[in-house]
């Protein structure tokens, strides 16, 4: 398993390199450049040239790329073209907020989605089942920013229970948790909907299998059959989906962070994109890619924990 893990990590390097290179080129293909973001839109082309030189944007693209890659490999993610702040510092500020949000959304989604999916599978074709399927479909169909606004209107504006904006003062864990509730709920509902549907359909497949009938015939308790035999066998599919959707969840967190004004990776990417801050975008997107690769790795490794028949060789 260790050899497998090392091999997978090594394989991630070329993937990251391709991602970095593609992002590096793509952001520069889009018209517009960071000089305008710094100076506003009404300065002369001559002044823009001076700034371009100062930002190193006058160098040939291949030279810019070489320089960037060299620094990146050495762990220097560069400085923001706009503010000059080190990207690593921006990343250090932003990453915890995104991780926090992703983790709690995942927690809400998993703790509600899987039991609900099992429940709906057991109550197949009942009123509960229809209702659950309807709401989980709605959860997937509604864009997360819309759910976010509905939640704010209800919990913040009407009931005045939770804050609307930001992440709360640093160090004040209680305030931070309060700020986290609505964004985590927004993404948690999305995750719950995905997982409910997935768990339900996988459980239905498993519940029809011969070994389940055998387990019932043996006279095992119903709970034991469901959780020990059925759910455990359904888990591989569920974990696969969980891995894939975690990637989607991180993607969806961009919009949620913007609505709740959380200074996470999503806000960082959108802000940098609007300012055409090439260095920041490239570094942050590469980190995003690394996170997705890491999640996939964790997902793959977890198969072995769930199903002892799976070996990593």
């Amino acid at each position: 398993m260790l050899a497998y893990t090392i091999r997978r990590i090594l394989m991630a390097i070329p993937t990251l390199w391709v991602a970095l290179t593609m992002i590096f080129i793509l952001v520069r293909v889009i018209p517009g450049d960071p000089t305008t973001a710094v100076m506003g839109d009404y300065v002369t082309d001559k002044s823009l040239e001076v700034l371009k030189r100062q930002m190193g944007l006058d160098l040939p693209l291949i030279e810019q790329y070489g320089l960037y890659l060299y620094n990146f490999v050495r762990g220097d993610f560069g400085n923001s073209l706009i503010t000059g702040a080190p990207v690593l510092k921006e990343l250090k500020n932003a990453l915890p907020h995104t991780l926090e949000l992703t983790f709690f959304s995942l927690l809400i989604g998993t703790l509600t989605g899987i039991p609900l999916g099992v429940f709906l599978a057991l109550k197949r074709n009942s009123a509960w089942d229809y209702l659950g399927r309807f709401f989980s479909l709605a959860g997937i169909s509604f864009p997360s920013f819309y759910i976010a606004v509905l939640l704010i209107l209800l919990f913040s504006m009407k009931l005045d229970l939770l804050p609307v904006m930001g992440v709360g003062p640093a160090g004040d864990t209680w305030a931070r948790m309060r700020h986290l509730v609505l964004p985590a709920l927004t993404l948690g509902l999305l995750m719950m909907s995905y997982l409910t549907r997935m768990t339900r359909s996988t459980m239905l497949d498993v519940l029809g299998a011969d070994y389940i009938r055998t387990a019932h015939a043996k006279g095992l308790r119903k709970a034991k059959v469901i959780f020990k035999h059925a759910l455990k066998n359904a888990s591989v599919s569920i974990v696969t989906v969980l891995g894939i959707y975690t990637g989607i969840l991180i993607g969806s967190s961009v919009m949620t962070e913007i609505i709740f004004n959380r200074p996470g990776l999503g806000s960082l990417i959108v802000g940098s994109m609007l300012n055409r801050d090439y260095i920041t975008i490239t570094s942050i997107m590469t980190v995003y890619a690394a996170i997705v690769i890491f999640i996939n790795l964790i997902t793959d490794l977890s198969y072995g924990l769930i199903d002892p028949r799976i070996r990593y060789e």
């Binding site: 839109d41 000059g84 921006e90 926090e100 930001g166 200074p263 960082l268 802000g271 977890s302």
Partner: protein, 520 residues
């Protein structure tokens, strides 16, 4: 379960990574919501982005200043200079500085050396984007630690505007610029009522009171600028009390809705942004004056105001806004008259109109683009709207992609600035000195270069104004562009905030926060 353990550790690490707390309940903290995803750099000589202007206004001073809450050039008053005098020919200006003015963060007393350094920096094209305004600065010298002398190569009637607390006129600490170098952009040191404390990218910028501020210790302890680019998010945070001041949404229904809220004051302020549509005369048949006049007659300006709302917009009459020094409303008017427009087009040989091809626009200008599309269609002039994001649009309109360019701008309220940028031939887009002359006025047809150049060096203010009036009249006779609407800047504040000044007009594009601003 191992996955959960791992994720739980990550989340815990996330919470711990965020560091210690910073606010205590007793502090007076003013929270401002800015319509921007981030700020730019805090070197006033190199930055013009909207989010930065109010922040820099609190950090820096000029030799002179507008009275807070006003941008009337007649109300200019002493700032870092106690008084000043000009030689009889207006070529030598002497400024006598206040004594004992302290820079932030222990950078010492502000002296003539800092002023000389700052003005030279503002005039240098390597260190300032405002350098073209300072070409007449022949010599800037420190006579003694509290006296600065500026010698001009020619008379500059708007001289005080160059040493004002705005853009290039801001005075920086020489020691701090030398210490931080390029990093000064995130370590700004000025003499203003608030000092820079912290910038958290894409989140907020925190300023703290400068206790030795020369006009007295600020009443607020801290001012926090939150970057909240989504309108709805800003609105909800404001109504919830998480923000004390925000920029508004420029829609009348929204303004009316907010006015009904308790404890909310809405301010719609001049001089605002003037939107014009520029006719790119390199695109046929816009070089024909009959065609341009036809387009002007076909445009219904009232509709342009109505889509935003009459209470937050003003009539655009000339190519500069009312309130700009040199403004006149005695210019050619093209009343909205479709029949007249059609007749002019017929005369020009286009009885059925024509197609102008693709029209690149961004969400910000979509409203103007659609209105133009609808109105011009009635005289058979058509185009296809293509949406791109805002920076892309800026790039493309500078590459002459559009035949029509709607463009909104707020500039320093002197006729020269706006007219030079939009109508001087030096400013034609795509040239090295290009700024925003989208119509190619002054090249395709003779323009107003001579009038603007003359006015810039005219010593007599009345004669200068007369030249600017002439220029506006000629521009509207030639119609290389047509004014559409003035949109006021729109801010909201809690009624519990005492601004500490009488608010009449605003150029900092957000509320100015002074030492007298207070939370009641």
């Amino acid at each position: 379960m191992k996955i959960f353990k791992c994720l739980a550790t990550m989340a815990l690490a996330a919470i711990l990574l965020a560091g210690p707390g910073q606010a205590t309940a007793a502090e007076k903290i003013l929270k401002i919501g800015v319509f921007s995803a981030d700020m730019g750099i805090l070197d006033p000589h190199r930055s013009a982005t909207t989010a930065n202007l109010p922040i820099m206004d609190s950090i820096f001073n000029g030799l002179v200043r507008w009275r807070p809450g006003s941008v009337d050039l007649e109300t200019i008053e002493p700032d870092l200079a106690e008084r000043w005098e000009a030689s009889a020919d207006g070529r030598v200006w002497t400024f006598f500085l206040r004594k004992g003015v302290q820079f932030h963060h222990g950078f010492g007393e502000m002296t003539a050396e800092d002023v000389v350094f700052s003005l030279k920096k503002a005039a240098n094209k390597e260190t300032s984007i405002w350098h073209t305004g300072y070409t007449a600065f022949e010599k800037v010298e420190a006579v003694d630690p509290y006296t600065v002398r500026i010698s001009l190569s020619n008379n500059v009637p708007s001289m005080l505007a160059l040493v004002l607390n705005f853009h290039g006129g801001m005075v920086l600490s020489k020691k701090a610029v030398e210490k931080y170098g390029d990093d000064f952009r995130l370590n700004p040191v000025g003499t203003g009522p608030f000092a820079f404390k912290e910038y958290i990218p894409k989140q907020k910028t925190i300023l703290v009171a400068h206790p030795q501020y020369f006009r007295g210790k600020p009443k607020l302890d801290s001012v926090v600028y939150h970057f909240v680019p989504v309108d709805q998010a800003r609105e909800m945070a404001f109504l919830k009390g998480e923000l004390d001041m925000i920029e508004g949404v420029k829609q009348e229904w929204w303004v009316e809705k907010m006015k009904k809220e308790k404890n909310v004051i809405v301010d719609a302020l001049p001089p605002g942004e003037l939107t014009m549509v520029h006719f790119n005369m390199t695109k046929k048949p816009l070089e024909d004056i009959r065609v341009r006049r036809a387009l002007a007659h076909a445009i219904n300006r009232k509709e342009f105001r109505e889509t935003y709302g009459m209470s937050i917009t003003g009539d655009a009459v000339s190519v500069i806004g009312p309130g700009y020094l040199g403004f006149t409303d005695k210019v050619a008017q093209y009343e909205f008259n479709v029949e007249k427009a059609k007749a002019l087009l017929k005369e020009a040989g286009f009885p059925n109109g024509f197609n102008l091809g693709e029209f690149v626009t961004s969400p910000i200008y979509l409203n103007s683009a659609e209105l133009l599309q609808g109105q011009l269609k009635k005289i058979g002039v058509t185009f296809e709207i293509k949406m791109v994001d805002h920076p892309t649009m800026h790039k493309m309109i500078r590459q002459d992609l559009n035949a029509l360019v709607p463009y909104g701008a707020a500039r320093f309220p002197i006729a020269d600035e706006m007219m030079t940028q939009f109508f001087h031939s030096n400013s034609i887009v795509g040239t090295p000195t290009g700024i925003t002359n989208f119509s190619h006025y002054g090249k395709v047809i003779p323009g107003v270069d001579d009038l603007l150049d003359q006015a810039r060096v005219e010593p007599n203010v009345e004669k200068q104004k007369a030249l600017w009036v002439k220029a506006q009249q000629k521009i509207l006779d030639d119609v290389p562009a047509y004014p559409l609407r003035i949109t006021y800047v729109l801010f909201l504040r809690k009624a519990t905030i005492d601004l500490g000044y009488d608010l009449k007009s605003n150029m900092t594009l957000h509320y100015q926060i002074t030492e007298k601003t207070d939370l009641k």
